[in-house]
C-alpha cells in the first residue's frame, strides 16, 4: 500500500464498483450455487431437493473413477511440467548463448504459445488417427499402438498433445529469466569455474529458481484446467475414464450426467487443491527464493 493516499468517502467505491459488480454476479453467485449443489441431493426427477450433508462428497470418494481421474491428473501435471520445463529450459539456454539469429529463434519458438489447447487437440487428432496419423503409424510399427484400448498409449497421446504448445511458454519465461541475470555475475563466474556445465548448475540455475517455481505453478494450472480442450478433442477420456482429468470428469458428471450434487462436490474438492497450491506458492516460494 502507498504511504500517501487519497482520502475520500465515496470515490474509491466508484473505481471498485464495476469489477466488484461483475465478480458478484458472474463469479460469487455461481460459487454460492456450487456450494448449495454440493450439499443438497436432488430427487431423480429434478422436482425437489433436500439437504444432504456430506453425502455427495462421500459418493465422490466411493467412486473408483474419481480416483482414476485423480491419479491421471497428478501424473499428467507432473509429466507435462517435467517435459515442457526441461525442453523449455534447454532451448532457452541455447537461445541465450547464440550470437547470431537470437531473435529469429525466439520468434519461431514462441508462436505456439498463442494457439488454443482445443486447436492443438484437433491437430493431434490427425497425427494420431488410424487413417492419416503419422505418429500413429510410427508408434504402431514400434510396439503396436492402440490408444483406445491401451492406457499407456492413451497417456502418450494426451501427453504429446498437452506438452507441445506449453514448451513455448516455458521457453519464453526461462529466456526472460536468463536475460535478467546480470552480466557481471556470469563474467565473474567464468573466471572461477571453467566448466560450462558445472557453472550452469551452480551459478545460473540457482539464480533461475524464482522463474522455475513460477513456471511449475503455471504448468500445473495448465495441466489442471487448460487441458480440458485437449482431452475433449483427443481421447474424450478413453479408454474407459483413464484419461479424464478432474476438471473434465466434473464437467461430464455435471453437464452430461446432470448430477449437480456430485459435480458441485468435485468442484469444491478442486478449489481446495488449488487453495493448497496457492498457499504453497506464497509460503514456500515468496519466502525462500531471493530475487537478488
Amino acid at each position: 500500500m502507498k504511504k500517501v493516499q487519497f482520502k475520500s468517502y465515496y470515490s474509491q467505491y466508484f473505481f471498485l464498483a464495476p469489477q466488484l459488480l461483475i465478480l458478484l454476479i458472474f463469479l460469487y453467485w455461481p460459487i454460492i450455487q456450487t456450494f448449495k449443489d454440493a450439499f443438497t441431493m436432488q430427487d431423480a426427477f429434478g422436482f425437489g431437493s433436500q439437504f444432504a450433508g456430506f453425502d455427495n462428497f462421500l459418493f465422490v470418494f466411493s467412486d473408483p473413477s474419481y480416483f482414476t481421474a485423480f491419479k491421471f491428473t497428478i501424473i499428467y501435471s507432473f509429466v507435462i511440467t517435467l517435459i515442457t520445463g526441461s525442453i523449455g529450459l534447454l532451448l532457452a539456454v541455447q537461445a541465450n548463448k547464440v550470437l547470431h539469429g537470437k531473435n529469429v529463434y525466439k520468434t519461431l519458438l514462441i508462436w505456439p504459445y498463442a494457439i488454443a489447447p482445443a486447436v492443438v487437440g484437433v491437430m493431434a487428432n490427425y497425427f494420431f488417427s488410424e487413417r492419416y496419423g503419422l505418429l500413429h503409424h510410427l508408434f504402431n510399427n514400434l510396439w503396436g499402438f492402440n490408444w483406445y484400448e491401451d492406457v499407456f498409449d492413451a497417456y502418450i497421446y494426451v501427453i504429446i498433445a498437452g506438452s507441445w504448445k506449453q514448451i513455448s511458454a516455458n521457453f519464453i519465461f526461462f529466456l526472460a529469466g536468463l536475460q535478467a541475470i546480470q552480466k557481471t555475475v556470469i563474467e565473474a563466474s567464468i573466471i572461477d569455474c571453467k566448466s560450462n556445465i558445472r557453472r550452469f548448475w551452480t551459478i545460473t540455475f540457482p539464480l533461475l529458481m524464482p522463474t522455475t517455481f513460477f513456471l511449475i505453478i503455471i504448468n500445473i494450472t495448465y495441466a489442471f484446467f487448460d487441458t480440458f480442450g485437449i482431452i475433449d478433442t483427443t481421447t474424450i477420456g478413453a479408454p474407459g475414464s483413464e484419461t479424464k482429468t478432474l476438471v473434465y470428469k466434473a464437467y461430464i458428471d455435471g453437464f452430461k450426467g446432470l448430477d449437480l450434487g456430485s459435480a458441485g462436490a468435485q468442484s469444491i474438492m478442486m478449489m481446495i487443491i488449488v487453495l493448497f497450491i496457492t498457499i504453497f506458492q506464497f509460503r514456500y516460494i515468496e519466502g525462500k527464493i531471493h530475487y537478488n
Binding site: Q19, V98, L109, P117
Partner: protein, 273 residues
C-alpha cells in the same frame, strides 16, 4: 575451435526445437492445400498442392453443405467480438479496481482485497454448470454479453495492475496532491498514460485468452449464430481438407498478434518482476 563446435551444437539443438514446433503445423498446412480425395488416398502431405485458394475460400464463404447456418467468416467475426469485449472489459474494470485498492484509504480494505483476489482460486472451469444456470436465469444464453461477462470476471489483470501501481514512486502522488489534483484527474492524466505498456500487454493477453476460449462458448451457444472459431472446430462438418484449412485459419489471429507484439507483451509482463 571448441567455440565453433559448441556454437554448432547450440544451433543444432535450437533447430531441432524449431522443427518440433513448425513441422506439425506445416504438415497440416501443406495437407490443407490438396483435395480431400488426394488426402484420403495418400494420407498427410509434406508438399504443397494446388487447391489452396479453392479450399480456403470454400471454407470461409460457403454456408450450405458445410455448416448448416453459419460460415467460418461469421465465426471469426463472433470470436473477434468476444475476444475484444473480454479484453476491453477486463482492462477497464481492473485498471480502475487496482487504482481503488492502491491509492485510497478504504474502510474495509482487507475484506475488499480478499473479495477480489480469492477469485483467482476459482477459474471458470470450476463453476461451469452453475454459471450456465445463472446465465440462463439472466436470459444471457446465446448473447455476446453471455460469452463475454463471465470470462471478464477475473482478477488476473487487477493483480498485474496493482503490482505495477505499487512500483510507481510515491512522490508522484505527493506532487499531484500539492497541485490539488483530484483523484479522477490523477487517474486519467497520470496513471493511465504511465500504464500504457501494461495496458497494451494485458489487452493482448486477455484478447488471446478470450479468443482461445473453448468450453464456455460450447456451453453458452445453442444457436449456431453465436459459434466461435475455436469451439466450431470440433463441431464443424466438412471434408478433410476443409477441416485442415479451418484449423490453420483458426490459429492465424492469435499467432499473428503474439508474434508481432511479442516485445510489448513480454515487456509488460516482466515489468512486474
Amino acid at each position: 575451435m571448441t567455440r565453433y563446435i559448441s556454437s554448432t551444437i547450440n544451433h543444432c539443438i535450437l533447430l531441432i526445437g524449431l522443427l518440433i514446433m513448425i513441422v506439425p503445423v506445416w504438415i497440416i498446412f501443406a495437407s490443407s492445400t490438396h483435395s480431400s480425395l488426394f488426402i484420403n488416398t495418400n494420407g498427410l502431405q509434406f508438399f504443397l498442392g494446388d487447391n489452396f485458394i479453392e479450399n480456403y475460400s470454400r471454407v470461409l464463404f460457403k454456408k450450405s453443405g458445410f455448416f448448416n447456418e453459419i460460415t467460418a467468416l461469421k465465426m471469426f467475426f463472433n470470436s473477434f467480438v468476444m475476444a475484444t469485449g473480454i479484453a476491453a472489459l477486463s482492462v477497464i474494470t481492473s485498471l480502475m479496481a487496482a487504482y481503488g485498492l492502491v491509492y485510497f484509504k478504504i474502510k474495509y480494505a482487507t475484506i475488499i482485497f480478499w473479495l477480489i483476489f480469492i477469485t483467482l482460486l476459482v477459474p471458470l472451469e470450476l463453476r461451469i454448470m452453475p454459471s450456465y444456470i445463472v446465465m440462463s436465469k439472466l436470459n444471457l444464453v446465446n448473447t455476446f454479453a453471455g460469452l463475454i461477462l463471465p470470462i471478464s470476471a477475473s482478477a488476473i489483470a487487477t493483480f498485474f495492475f496493482r503490482q505495477f501501481y505499487k512500483s510507481i514512486p510515491d512522490e508522484l502522488l505527493e506532487a499531484a496532491k500539492l497541485d490539488g489534483t483530484s483523484s479522477w484527474r490523477f487517474f486519467i492524466d497520470f496513471l493511465v498514460p504511465l500504464s500504457k505498456t501494461m495496458i497494451a500487454a494485458v489487452f493482448i493477453f486477455m484478447f488471446v485468452f478470450g479468443y482461445n476460449q473453448y468450453l464456455w462458448p460450447l456451453i453458452m451457444t445453442t444457436s449456431e449464430q453465436y459459434w466461435t472459431v475455436v469451439m466450431g472446430l470440433k463441431t464443424m462438418y466438412g471434408s478433410i481438407s476443409d477441416r485442415f484449412a479451418f484449423v490453420i485459419m483458426s490459429m492465424i489471429p492469435p499467432v499473428v498478434i503474439i508474434v508481432f507484439l511479442q516485445k510489448l507483451f513480454i515487456q509488460g509482463i516482466f515489468q512486474n518482476k
